[in-house]
Symmetry: C2
Subunit: 315 residues, 2 copies
């Protein structure tokens, strides 16, 4: 049996044909061009799916259902995106629109961070775990909660905003309106802000050269500088890890998940990032004396998590 998984992103619409063993048999993408009317975006989404099917000599009748991983507040019961500000949608019946445009039997939807967490829980780093939390360190900090193979997102589908836990009252301004949210420190954006601030105070830091060579200050700048012995770079990395581990310890105290997955580009730092985080969380979490400790892992599915997560929404 075949399933269509669609990852509606701000830059690209990615879609894949997935089998019941979570294999992506075929995938492709088209630009979202998010500023145009949503109906045009949906037409391109449907055409992308039709093309993928044609390339595999399949028709829409071979597909059990399509799933959409969308930004915003997604009502998984009604198939309506209640609110999204990136790709602008307000009470938009995205499932019905795709059903009409594509002719598929059924369309499931969920929020992209939730879908990615479900994919990791079913087929990725948290495969087989009774409870899994996924944290994505990107422009913001995304969260997903999966318990017994089911997404938890609250009675209004707007929960799991794990980046919006204030960890420093009165701290950095967050886009959500509050101050001191976890994501203002632990997102890639937060890391870049910390890096720039430290550079301003340290005109001799290696970070100046590294960022000049790379063309910009990125989430890698401080890590690279630290590895090359730069003191200011080390201070940025250590501070970043301190905040990230603090926020993750909070999440472990709340959920004590069997697996905590960390995704996003910053994870490419590998054990430079993961090892100190594991050490701090193991020491600081409330149940540190328990023989059963949350396993902290890098997410395994990368960019495919959205497609896969969407494809499994109805399984």
């Amino acid at each position: 049996m075949y399933y269509l998984g669609i990852d509606l992103g701000g830059t690209n619409i990615a879609a894949g044909i997935v089998d019941e063993n979570y294999n992506i048999l075929k995938k492709g993408s088209v630009p979202t061009l998010a500023s145009r009317p949503i109906d045009e975006v949906m037409t391109d989404m449907a055409n992308l799916c039709k093309n993928l099917l044609a390339e595999m000599n399949l028709t829409v009748d071979d597909v059990e259902y399509a799933g959409i991983a969308s930004p915003g507040t997604c009502n998984s019961e009604t198939g309506v995106v209640e609110f999204s500000n990136n790709i602008v949608m307000y009470n938009y019946p995205i499932a019905d629109v795709l059903k009409a445009k594509l002719g598929v039997k059924k369309v499931y939807i969920d929020n992209d961070a939730n879908a990615a967490a479900l994919a990791e829980a079913l087929a990725g780093a948290a495969k087989g775990a009774s409870s899994a939390i996924m944290i994505t360190l990107g422009t913001g900090v995304g969260g997903g909660i999966v318990v017994d193979g089911k997404i938890y997102s609250g009675f209004n589908h707007a929960g799991a905003e794990l980046g919006h836990i204030v960890i420093e009252k009165g701290g950095r301004q967050c886009t959500c309106g509050r101050r001191g949210c976890f994501e203002t420190y632990s997102s890639a954006t937060g890391l870049i802000n910390m890096t720039k601030e430290k550079m301003e105070k340290n005109p001799d830091s290696l970070m100046w050269k590294l960022s000049e060579a790379a063309g910009k200050v990125s989430g890698k700048t401080a890590f690279q500088a630290k590895r090359q012995g730069d003191a200011a770079g080390a201070e940025v990395v250590d501070e970043y890890i301190e905040y990230l581990a603090l926020g993750l310890t909070n999440i472990v105290n709340i959920f004590q998940p069997e697996v905590l997955c960390i995704g996003g580009g910053i994870c490419n730092e590998g054990e430079y990032l993961m090892a100190p985080i594991r050490e701090i969380v193991a020491k600081e979490n409330f149940a540190h004396n328990s023989p059963n400790q949350t396993v902290i892992k890098r997410a395994a599915l990368g960019n495919d998590a959205g497609i896969l997560g969407a494809a499994v929404l109805g399984m």
Copy 2:
């Protein structure tokens, strides 16, 4: 059908005979005397249950099962208290011990905060809610998570420690070893600490007279002073509410529960406490634009929540 609910507290063991409609038909209590060997505590627990049954002309055969709400990390699958430091237990098979001493068919156990949350979700302030969080403002801040009528406590039964979310990095020292946990600000203990500190800085505050008259500084002192126009008292209350609302907003962002129940003695301040909290959370939570907002309520079951929660563990 009858169920025995037992609330094992640090001061008293309370027990009740409960029917299938969540009515407590008979209840009683005996002192825990927590410093003695746990086996003696369990003998008294069994005798308390036998006496309650006898008073209703019932025998243990009329009881479907007994439930125990215990402090500490309770493995609900094995019936073992893995760790409790208040009443000292370490891998203690509390369910088997009670079964042997009482002769009851089956014994269920769970953590007391979790059991109280379940009681509120099934029979109290969150009755009928698809998701409910209970926060108890006591010596510490207790948390309980109930989703679809089931307690969630993580894969190692040690989760739902909602008082141990750091909300102010580097802040007040917490008993858990970290600094700035929600409970260091929002527990009764936290409020009393804030009150004492403010009194030291304000020798003319009415709080001195009020606490002298009451024999001690309590969680009521600042609230009383504020109501009587005392500026320092008002500052304590306002600060307390600010921290509490911040922590509750975090919890709403994480769970978006249908109902958030607040319990503990401080709730006796009623709308003096609840009204400003509702206002702040409604404004500050991430999904404040959603038409579906978490309802914040006072817990309804008071001291009976432990007995009731224990009694429904097997339902």
